[in-house]
C-alpha cells in the first residue's frame, strides 16, 4: 500500500487528528477516547474468548485429568493426573506411528498442492480467455465441492467394481482403499484436487496484481524471461507464497473428513489414521476424553510452532503488524 497505512484515521473526541508524517512506531497517547476501538472489538473478543480461548483452556485442563465416561456422567469426580495421560500417550507405539503418518501425509499434500497450484497459475497467465476461463471454472468447481461429497465421488471414481479409473488404467478390480499406501495416495489425490484451486487462484491474482510497468521496465532493460521471473516476480510474490504455504500446512495437517469418509474411520486396522481421526476415535468412540484432549494439545503445539515460523517470516519481510 502507498502512503502511511499504519497512521490512519485518528479521531479523538470529534476532532480530526492528522498523524501523517508522524513516527509509525509510536503509539497514540492512551487517553479516555480510546474506548472506541474496544467497542468495535467487543463482539469479536466475546465470541473468540468464549468459543476459542476458553475451549483451548478446557482442552489443556482435560488433558491433565482422568476423564472418561464415569466423570462425564458425573458418577465419579475428575481427578488430577499430572502428565499421566501424556505418559500413556507417548508410551504407546501407535501414537508415534500416527504422528509420523500425519506429518508425512500433510507434507506430501502441501508439496503437491503448491506444485500443482503454482504451475497452473503460471499456465493461466500464458493462455487466452477461453482456456483460462475453462480451467478457472473447473478449479472453482473442485474448490466448491464439499469435503464429504468429494470424498464419496472419488471413492466411486476409484471403485474396484464400477469405477471408471480402474477401467481406463486397466487395473482390473484393484482395491485402492485396501492397501495402506494406495489408500493414503487416493486421499492425497482428493485433497490436492479440492485444495489446489485456492493456491492457483491466489497466485494468479498475485501475478495479475504486479504492475505491468514493472515488467515492461525490466524487459526494456534487457532482462530475460527467466530473469524477470527470478528477480522481479518471485520477490513480489513471496508474501502470497508464504500465505498459501501456511494455509496449506494448517489445512492439510488437520484433514479429517476425507480420511474419515474415504478410509471408513481410519483404514483397515487403523492403518490410515491421522492425529485428528485418532483423537476423535479415542474421545468419542472409546470415551477416553482425556487421551483425546492430550492428542489435541499435541496438535495445537505443533501448529503453534508453525505459527512462530510464520511470524518470523513476516517479520523478516518487514511486514508491519
Amino acid at each position: 500500500m502507498t502512503g502511511s497505512p499504519m497512521s490512519s484515521g485518528g479521531v479523538v473526541r470529534g476532532r480530526v487528528r492528522d498523524r501523517r508524517g508522524s513516527s509509525r512506531r509510536s503509539p497514540r497517547p492512551f487517553g479516555r477516547s480510546s474506548a472506541t476501538p474496544w467497542i468495535y472489538l467487543a463482539p469479536a473478543l466475546v465470541v473468540l474468548g468464549g468459543l476459542l480461548v476458553y475451549p483451548v483452556y478446557q482442552l489443556g485442563l482435560i488433558s491433565f485429568l482422568e476423564y472418561t465416561q464415569a466423570q462425564v456422567s458425573g458418577g465419579e469426580p475428575a481427578t488430577f493426573q499430572g502428565f499421566g495421560n501424556y505418559a500413556e500417550l507417548f508410551g504407546d507405539g501407535e501414537f508415534w506411528r500416527v504422528l509420523l503418518a500425519t506429518v508425512v501425509f500433510a507434507a506430501a499434500c502441501v508439496v503437491s498442492t503448491l506444485a500443482v497450484g503454482c504451475a497452473l497459475a503460471v499456465l493461466l497467465t500464458r493462455v487466452r480467455a477461453v482456456p483460462r476461463l475453462a480451467l478457472m471454472l473447473a478449479g472453482l468447481g473442485a474448490w466448491a465441492t464439499p469435503a464429504v461429497t468429494g470424498s464419496t465421488v472419488w471413492l466411486l471414481l476409484f471403485d474396484p467394481d464400477f469405477g471408471p479409473v480402474n477401467r481406463m488404467l486397466g487395473l482390473g478390480d484393484h482395491s485402492w482403499t485396501y492397501g495402506r499406501y494406495s489408500a493414503f495416495l487416493l486421499v492425497l489425490l482428493e485433497v490436492v484436487w479440492c485444495s489446489f484451486p485456492f493456491v492457483m487462484v491466489t497466485v494468479y491474482a498475485g501475478i495479475r496484481a504486479v504492475p505491468s510497468e514493472v515488467l515492461e521496465a525490466a524487459a526494456l532493460d534487457g532482462a530475460s524471461q527467466w530473469r524477470i521471473w527470478r528477480s522481479v516476480l518471485a520477490p513480489m510474490l513471496r508474501p502470497i507464497l508464504v500465505v498459501v504455504t501456511i494455509q496449506s500446512v494448517i489445512w492439510d495437517f488437520k484433514v479429517f473428513t476425507q480420511i474419515y469418509v474415504m478410509t471408513n474411520g481410519g483404514g483397515i486396522a487403523g492403518q490410515n489414521m491421522v492425529l485428528n481421526v485418532y483423537a476423535y476415535q479415542k474421545a468419542f468412540a472409546s470415551s477416553q476424553y482425556s487421551l483425546g484432549s492430550a492428542i489435541g494439545v499435541v496438535m495445537l503445539l505443533i501448529l503453534l510452532a508453525v505459527t512462530l515460523v510464520y511470524l518470523r517470516l513476516l517479520r523478516r519481510q518487514g511486514e508491519e503488524l
Binding site: 476459542l52 465421488v153 466411486l156
Partner: protein, 281 residues
Amino acid sequence: MNLLRARVRRPWRLAAEVSALLIAVVVAFPLYWMVLSAFKPAGEIESSEPRPWTLTPSLDSFRRVFEQQEFGRYFLNSLIVAGSVVIASALIAFLAATAVTRFRFRFRTTLLIMFLVAQMVPVEALTIPLFFLMRDFGQLNTLGSLILPHIAFSLPFAIWMLRGFVKAVPEALEEAAYIDGASRTRFLWQILFPLVLPGLVATSVFSFISTWNDFLFAKSFIISDTSQSTLPMALLVFYKPDDPDWGGVMAASTVMTIPVLVFFVLVQRRLVSGLGGAVKD
C-alpha cells in the same frame, strides 16, 4: 501480463492452451461423474463396464433422496447455519478489522498476533471441550451448537484478511467525511462498509465453505435430535461403507454441491480481485 504473453512463441502458446483445456477436463471430471451417476438409472451405476454417458437418464435417485425423511429439513438447516455464520462473522470481522487498522491503542499489536495465532488452532481438537460446553449450556442438538463455534473459527482469518481492505481506504477520505459532518458511525457503515465489500465477499467464501463442509461438529454435537442435522449427515444415510447406494449418494452430493457452486459463480470475479487485493497489501 500482455507483455509476458507476447513473448511466448506461438507453438508454445498453442501447447499451453491445449494443456490448459485438458487439465480443465481432468479437474472437472469428478464433478461430471457425480452428476452423471446421479442421473443413471438403478443398476447402471453398478455395471462393471462404466459408460461415460447414459442413454436413459432417470430421476429415481433424486426422488429417493428427497423422499428420505427430513432431507429438505437438513438442506434448510445447512442454509441457516452457513448463512448465519457468513453474515455474523462478516459484520463482527468488519468492526474488528476497522478497530485494528484505523486506531492505535495499547495491546493492538498483541491482539493482531493473537488473531494470527488463533487461525492456527486446530478446531477439530476443540471438539471435546466444545462438546462439554454445548452440553452445559443445553445447546447440544441445536443449530446454535453448529453456528456459534463456526463464527468463532471464521473470525481470525476474516479479520486478518479484511485488514488489507480497510487499510486500503485512504485516510483522506475519512478526514473529508468528518469535515463534511459525518459521524463516526455514519462513516463506518455508509462509506467504509461499501468500500470493503469486495473484501467481505472474499472472506465470506472461506467462512461459507468451511461451515457448509462441516462434518465433525454435526456428527459430534447433533446426536439425538436428528431433525437438527445438516446435509453431510443426510448424505451418509446413503453411504454405507459396505453397501453404498451410489445413486442416492451421488444425487445427494449433487444437491449439496449446487448451492456452493451458485455462490462461487456469483462471487467469482470479486473473489479473484479480492484475493488480488489482499495480496497487494
